[in-house]
Symmetry: C2
Subunit: 432 residues, 2 copies
Amino acid sequence: MGVQPGDVVEIVKDGVTYRGTVLPRTEEIPDNVLVIKLKNGYNIGIKITPEAEIRIIAKGEPPKKYKAPVKVVKREDLPTAAIVATGGTIASRVDYKTGGVVAEFTAEDFLLSFPEIAELANLRLKQVSNIFSEDMMPEYWVKIAEGVGEVIKKGVDGVVITHGTDTMHYTAAFLSFALRNAPVPIVLVGAQRSSDRPSSDAAINLMNAINVAVNSDLAGTFIVMHETMSDDWTTIHPGTRARKMHTSRRDTFKTIGDRPVGRSLVLARGGRIVEKTIEIWRDEFRRRGQEGFRVDAKINPNVFLLKSVPGLRKDIFERILMEHDGVIIEGTGLGHVRQELIPSIAEATESGVFVGITPQPLFGRVHPHVYSTAVKMVSVGAVYLEDMLPETALVKLMWSLGHSKDRERVKEIMLTNYAGEITERSRPNAFW
Amino acid sequence: MGVQPGDVVEIVKDGVTYRGTVLPRTEEIPDNVLVIKLKNGYNIGIKITPEAEIRIIAKGEPPKKYKAPVKVVKREDLPTAAIVATGGTIASRVDYKTGGVVAEFTAEDFLLSFPEIAELANLRLKQVSNIFSEDMMPEYWVKIAEGVGEVIKKGVDGVVITHGTDTMHYTAAFLSFALRNAPVPIVLVGAQRSSDRPSSDAAINLMNAINVAVNSDLAGTFIVMHETMSDDWTTIHPGTRARKMHTSRRDTFKTIGDRPVGRSLVLARGGRIVEKTIEIWRDEFRRRGQEGFRVDAKINPNVFLLKSVPGLRKDIFERILMEHDGVIIEGTGLGHVRQELIPSIAEATESGVFVGITPQPLFGRVHPHVYSTAVKMVSVGAVYLEDMLPETALVKLMWSLGHSKDRERVKEIMLTNYAGEITERSRPNAFW
């Protein structure tokens, strides 16, 4: 069609004018479709019919291929971000064998689509895995933690981890515990729509993640994703209190039972960053530069997350308890199981199994003293984990059991607030 | 103190004047505490110190003891509600042995505290159980369904089921499926604070549940509970899409992924009903008087609800699948499990186990065609259950398996929308 990647074009079709930067072709894009990046950061695919008119507004340089790890043309005036790539939709494309999306996009491909980010920071890339987040396993968390540890020790202003959204909150929880006293922000980011699709949220999430990583005074592990359905603000969630709450919406992540850490806005126009803003609402996370950083990623993943539901078989319940080193129960209401099951908890705790109770309603605090059921559960050794989210408790228990086999010591670790996973006082307004 | 239950009193203490109706004593109330019902419907306990002043404004009749089943002085101008009591906080009091709350309040005690409801409807009481809802089991659901069936067949204008809040949504889901073509509203109601405590939400929830049961043109199963933290409006939730979302707040129930059915307001002043309003927002539930009512409570409870989480052991996953007749998986994101686990699903479905996939994020729809993982899961027989809530899917699968052993027939039942459990189109705004 006479255009090259990097060219700024105007396409007039059916009375609509689209203006944007031509993106490189990939083999999945049909020959008659041109993908351009609009001013708002979105990629859009336009079918070029005979009536369509294409005007080249400015000839561009095609974005360069990157090799990982590599430094882009280094600008002394810019901070440095490490991008730790793990896979996920933010770096994925359609597999025409199954028709689904697969995680085969490389770190190089992925940077190619987002030329603006070179204006935000000098980048160091590190690929630690290339999988969908549903395939994430505790051993990968350890690899990610070690990878982040390495880049931090080399010296960076912030770390961005690209990750599938499915289990991003589990990984974020692990890193919150494993990266002790991190001196910089470690920001997990992903996309709900793959980056080779029109209307992907990848670009905006990524720009904001980098913005928070290099420009905020935060330190610790966070998630940065769309705040609403609109492509403007993104929310900074604490790593231990975020949860994926919608299967498909781009504002799927929510901070549960507490206030988000803040928000970030980065606006790009014509491939240039024209605005970047950060608002921080929670001062306790402003601790960039803190000392004593170390990676403490010891883990025992033999833990089960069990939802207490009507009809749960006693024999199955017993076996799940006895075959793991720890079980996190999503208790109903204030943290209950059917009273008939309490003797099984007694048996398990006597054998040294750690049994932790978390809120099935997700919001609010479990409470061991309001109802007789809970009073009995505590008397047989169940540990009520305050307002810790079930998913976070699962991850923290793996980490705690990696540090001690002693149930009392594990209990002490579980009930110590390391990274905002337990709030001192519930915020009644942190709800709907 | 010279006052009798039913007296309207003013108590002046520390400069504050409390005005309300004296409630009967129960053995748990300390001798120096007087419990009065305030104008707003709340009960409050006031410690009577030597400085406190008590004035009797009007001598009252103590509320009469009821016996179940019993008709109160029948008023021809009022509709009739059946109250089916099952237990729970709405009918509970403190156990001074353990310090927790126990479900020992009888239907008689319970009516005693709410004299206003006699102005809303003639009542028929039926106690089917007296347990906390964490102890609810599928066999109790069947008893409740049969109990409701009996009272409906005798002829009532509406049914109110008092129930613990912990698992109220599971019971509501079951009744939504088991009470086919119900001709009247069946309203589940509970309380987050026990009715013998000051600031209980029991009275307001109960009045509104009765209002909706007898005065609305709805039919089917609903939950009526506080809309906000304030004591005014209550929300009418569809029985298949409600979820307890907070451990302690009185507005704990939320309609997930759809619009609530409507709302109800009943205001009582000085023991009299001064206002009752109902707003209905969803016309498809306006079907009072529909024909063909029957109780269809066949059930096979051998079903497990499994949350797919990182680190889930393959051997445990396999065993859970193989030892149940059906398993509902809370898949991550659009409905995924770790790809390594897919062969175990294949093995289970080949043995006739039904495997249904629901959204772990709770909001939104699972989708079998976006990612290759899901495409593979479908190819081995996993059934994607649209936007059905995991808890509702668990209950519906028990009900479906009670009707057929044939996996194809069960799939057909599961994918048929019986009571709003599957929406045709997601409502993107039915979120946060």
